[in-house]
Symmetry: D2
Subunit: 488 residues, 4 copies
């Protein structure tokens, strides 16, 4: 399959996880939850359920979106049982093979266990080498298999093993696990990736975001705390906190781009945060004293910030760019001729509403800058008079190693160029990024970022990596190990 020639430049999150305990429609609810979390990963999806009566786990996994993989209702019917977990995956290039589709399942000493993971470990290769030295075999390229091996090679009951395992790993991880006795949810000691707890009558739900609860009418109880393990079984929910030094520092990008606007993470509504960022961006932007005619978002990711921006400066918010929501994952490969036409697969200017005007163009972030270049050119061609780009996040200067698929440092526009240079590259009349303090203010921290003890994981902006990058420091790469490249 050929990848679109207008692939989004957006950083992409690697996964969604979901779990249900004690519901006779467990698998169906899981499919619905995963559907609501589809924005976190569209490459593959899977569900594993457990049926007590039959003492069996049931599974189905496939390449594609939830509605494709679970579109046949017979499949859901075969996933019997009162508990289940599921996973959506965003796979980086070359890793879309079926072997990497989650949840992973394995028999270990304590019985069968299924596991689904959102995040990324920073000492995967070190651990993998050690485990292989001790005889473990690896059949996928995902770091989830590392966690499974750490569990299987330690001692005690499943929880004791899990506690041992998470003390060995570094990185960002939100996990859901399913055994024949319980549903487990846990977050890393900084709570970098989100995970919330919900209730639907007598059933417990775990979901990457609260919008996964909304779709099935479940009530949001609370977020899983950083470093907390919640064990849900027939007796209820038990909380275990094995880390002494756990301290919440969730990923700032979840608020800026990843999470759905209607989600509530750590008590904060993502949409409100984005509107606030728009407002703070407007405040910081006002020093320019530019009189904008209209405020135009790059849809849909710039919508909320643009609305906040427009409200603050009291200028019209305008849908000046229209997005085609039918853009599939693959499309025709263009000839050179077609490439030069500047084909607008995804965005089209809404000519009449912006022609001849001085606009504030709002986007959530600039990563490689390639989409920005195209959109600005498109707007110029249709007669926009002045384009002042305002970005609802600080410059992205550093790659992520905690589960966001960012390009390497040298592909990050802001790590190579000044704001002025970027403005020139993109072709705008002016460019402004919100300050990192501004983002913190939008999140309710009036004094901005507390640099001694910041409340969020924000290394892509600050270079402050709160979890050590073990593999990177030691320089172990997966390519030193033998790799199987599998054709779909």
């Amino acid at each position: 399959m050929i990848k679109s020639f207008l692939n989004t430049k957006k950083p992409r999150d690697e996964c969604a996880v979901f779990g249900v305990f004690n519901n006779k429609d467990a698998a169906a609810l899981t499919a619905l939850g995963l559907h609501a979390l589809q924005h976190r990963g569209q490459d593959s999806t899977g569900i594993v359920s457990y049926c007590k009566n039959q003492s069996n786990f049931f599974g189905h996994r496939g390449i594609g979106q939830v509605s494709e993989v679970f579109g046949d209702s017979n499949i859901i019917k075969k996933l019997e049982g009162m508990s289940s977990i599921g996973h959506n995956r965003y796979g980086t290039t070359g890793e879309t093979a079926l072997k990497n589709v989650q949840p992973l399942f394995s028999e270990i000493l304590t019985g069968g266990v299924a596991i689904a993971h959102n995040g990324n470990l920073t000492n995967t290769n070190v651990l993998k080498k050690e485990l292989i030295n001790n005889g473990s075999i690896f059949q996928s390229t995902s770091d989830t298999e590392v966690i499974l091996h750490l569990i299987s090679t330690s001692k005690g009951d499943l929880i004791e093993r899990l506690v041992y395992a998470i003390h060995s790993i570094n990185g960002a991880y939100s996990l859901v696990m399913l055994s024949n006795e319980c549903l487990i949810g846990l977050r890393d000691p900084l709570g970098i990736r989100p995970l919330v707890i919900g209730k639907l009558k007598n059933s417990y739900i775990l979901s990457s975001e609260s919008c996964g609860l909304d779709i099935i009418g479940a009530e949001l109880i609370r977020d899983v705390e950083p470093g907390e393990i919640v064990v849900i079984n027939n007796k209820g929910l038990k909380s275990i906190k094995p880390f002494a030094n756990a301290k919440l520092r969730p990923c700032l990008f979840e608020y800026i781009y990843f999470s759905r606007p209607d989600s509530i993470l750590e008590g904060k509504n993502v949409y409100q945060v984005r509107k606030n960022i728009g407002k703070e961006l407007a405040i910081e932007s006002q020093e320019d004293k530019i009189k904008f005619d209209k405020v135009v978002p790059i849809p849909d990711s710039g919508n909320a910030a643009a609305l906040g921006f427009a409200e603050h400066i009291n200028k019209p918010f305008e849908f000046g760019i229209i997005r085609n929501h039918y853009t599939g994952r693959t499309f025709i490969e263009p000839t050179n001729t077609i490439r030069h036409l500047g084909v607008k697969l995804k965005h089209n200017p809404n000519f009449e509403s912006i022609r001849g005007l001085k606009i504030a163009l709002i986007d959530d972030s600039i990563v490689r800058g390639t989409t920005s270049v195209k959109i600005v050119e498109m707007l110029r061609n249709c007669g926009v008079k002045e384009i002042h780009m305002r970005i609802a996040s600080p410059p992205v200067k550093h790659p992520c190693y905690y589960g966001i698929d960012t390009p390497s440092e040298k592909e990050l526009l802001a790590s190579k160029y000044t704001v002025e240079e970027i403005a020139k590259i993109i072709g705008v009349d002016s460019l402004k990024f919100i300050s990192l303090d501004g983002v913190y203010r939008a999140l309710g921290y009036k004094d901005g970022r507390n640099n001694q003890n910041p409340e969020f994981t924000d290394h892509y902006f600050s270079g402050d990596y709160p979890v050590k990058l073990v593999d990177k420091t030691i320089g172990i790469k997966p390519s030193q190990l033998s790799l199987l490249i599998e054709t779909k």
Copy 2:
């Protein structure tokens, strides 16, 4: 495949057509144009090209969206030639069989001819009966085959035959046709369905909407006129006007719901019209003197009107409902339990931004009312204080027979109930539809609808059917003829 249990209640347009003449990437451009027109039909799609060097037509048609059916670039390469036409289809129940996928192709006396059709004839069954009497055979259930038979059974060259054919048919139709010599576009004498002409350097383009030109960077030249036939060949574009009494009365619903907001039809930008409708709706609505806290659209179809509404009353526009754009065409069949959860596959309230408020809830139309009931209940559950629904079209009281898939009269809420009764059914605190005059004002007719000589086709609101409903009057139904029900 199981249809979603939350299928949209929206009336749906039946097709998009597209054509390219004199371009070596004809088929690729057609695929891109159809992609931009995907909103007009998602069930099937097809392209037929003509290659002069080989004296052959090439075709590919399939069930699914453009990016699925033409996702493999090898397919486009096989559609050789400098001219091509394409079609997107929205199929009503039971008619998704491959035999109905367009363009239709046939050998007739003048050579091969491909045809793609947007619209609906009102004397299909009368004509079909007559044609069958004279020995024509029908292999599909589409009325496009009727047009093809009328052409093949008349005399003269292709254009003479076409002129004969369109004098036999009643209804709404925008057609593109491809022969070994020319590309043809035409609209019915009232121009009910849209069709525009574009140019891309030396190539001519025909497209249902101007957004199909934008995606490939083509320039909008003009609309095909009502009753006009444009014949494009190596000598250029020739206009033929075989109808004495042609008079523009385009479908009003194209402006209200069907067309993409960035399209320009008959010189009017759809988005601007919708914003104007929002403004007129606000003006009409002000007599209530309700003080709204916020204006909330049902996304995305209510967005533009809501923005116009909000601007006029100077109250905040708010994304109070979030839409999941991943909703595929099929999804799991719910158990009764799940059904009662009120599953929110497509829309989710954005709690914090609307809780406790008095909102104006803007939608483009009410047809059956089922979605409205669900959304209002959803908003109530999350604590919205007062819901005042404002509809950007008049009550839909009459079914369409000109290419819109509306339900029958008895399923149209507004044909059975008063506005007050509808408000009660839907559960809102108040309900207001814009007047038909208001819509005309929004379109630039200050005095509203000229009832003696109205400018638009608006029978769903007015009951004024400008083209006679021959089949309906005579009472010929397709079920009297023998039908083949084909499994996909």
Copy 3:
């Protein structure tokens, strides 16, 4: 899909037809019958049924073998009704598009009618041109559509129309048709293609060969007579004989290669005929006075003749070549290196049983000779001492126009070379074809072929074409008409 690089050289028959009347499992029985007739066409298959209670026809057609296209039992369940017809198709290159898959279905004046055809018309293009002149439109490239048009454009009830139609067509045809009232079967006036009538309790069955009756336990009643129309409805079977000059001359190749050995055609068991041919071949061959060690068939088509040959000369029959029955329709494209290995995808010598021996190698026919070359080389390499090829049919010198897909004259080895030359090309120690008289003797005509009034259609051997080749004589080719080449 890539065609195998060791494609069989065999002439291939173009179709199988099957019909059931008055059985509540009509569609299932049809699928089984088509499965038994799979050897007559593997490219596509389809079934149309009629359900009186619902006054509807139901259809399903697809690319592939019967067990693939009808493998899902839900499909059969949807083909409701007490009568149905079906078709297997062998498509020549470029014609595997779905539009050509039969049965064809159409609404005509008398109601819906489905039609399935085995054979080939010799005046298709003349008729097509005439029909197009009169306004008929053609949507496929099959000559079955011609028959449908002749029916639809004539007068009277279905049978009257059919009688008219078959008086217009020339060629070989065995047809089954289904209307809302009856099942119809008919053969051309020479009965070139086979068609038999069976009974299963109160149900009537029509089948291309009797093996289609055997699979469902139906009793063979008789062959449809040449030029006979059998009309089966609730009153029973009625025979119509509209041709005065009908006279049986069935295709000789059905006995030599096409039909399944267990079939009985015109009272003659195909297997017995083939054994007899082997015997006659042995008699004719004995003049050489070669002492064979063993008689080896090229499996499976040479099996029966080899057995008859071996029995007559009283030498051991030996399975000296083993056939791999898993050879699918497509397989990997070889590199040049692989091609030179002489890959044995389909046949492998059974070394030990033939090494060092003098063998009679029996095949049913030589067409292009390419397979023969390969097999002889293969046998040489494994140490066979002498290879004396004996062919169970006369030299194929003339192409067929009556439904067999033979290559053109210049590709037929025997039309260009003498037997001695062919022997040299193939690399055998000696080569002998049975005489045409010998084949007739094997069929029970002691005096051989009655050249004044031969009992079989045998033009590929004799050049005697019993039905005039209208299109060929006039020189009308389909390429003069416009053609749509459709991608699967």
Copy 4:
């Protein structure tokens, strides 16, 4: 997918393995080899190659036959490198999930290793329990994963680890393995499953049977010896014999039914052995002094024995039953009505050649007897006068645990009934099985089976299990472990 209702009763072998070293078409040759070995397993297939230049393994595995899974030549091109291994799998019910498709691949301490396995271990569950106790995780249900774990958890280089591993396992196994340095082949100490070595110029080939060499024109060098490990790398082939007590006792059923007739195993041509068995069966049968008219095989498995039988008694061999080779893996589910018709999906009597005769009906074996019952009934219905069944193997009284999928003891007809009773059940006039001594005589052991030291593994006849059945004795079942049931 629904399994055929006339599924063969044949015992089925579980796999084929194939390997190529030092050939630039390694993967293509492997696909061809697997195609020739398709009869050993049709459910799934896979290939893993190693490319030295890229230091990467490449893999492709899928459900279906070789020509389906590797039908697209692009796939083969992606399997780069000069060495590769492949596998065909016959999966028992419920185990067709993709996770069980071989070759298995894993990273272990010594690098990547791929493994493909034909056979069955008898202490899988004991080993699995132990491995899980020590922290290994199992992601498939195949015993091949057990071998991989034994290798990964032992010490030394790959060969040392392998030697350790095979000293831990009991059962029948022929393995091929691929590392970044070498291709490995090995057989269990009794050589129960076959494995041969071939050469193609400078390339080494490993294949389950010699017919896998023939298809690519490779030369048969020798069989891998029992208990031998052959290590093939750039220096050539090295033989390692880690077992002191290795002694050849190959599976007798390979000669009777499994292997292709053209294969040569342990120097014996399978076809010749089967003909000899037919002859010995005839000799043993002669005591009855029945005068047969003809000898009829149940095709194709009875062909060779029937020919040997016929030759010995000097009576005509006859193709009295015709087999439909198109029978796919799945087909329509019959209604009860259809079931009672005695549908003949696979076999059909060749009426005329056997009606009214006294026949010897030859089959290779009787397992459950269900097919025999149907075939005998079918022959009776078409008028065969006397049916004397002669079976080319002794009664199958004991289940296999060494890689043949036999039913349990209570489903084996011969373990419950005497020969006379079986004759009555099947409905034949007489029934005779060859003696076990007779089979040995056919294999060249004039004195029959040496009961002190038999040359073959023949427990299904003799009850003599040469490898201890550890799991069975201890009573560990896989169901005690947690199982994931995966939907395709």
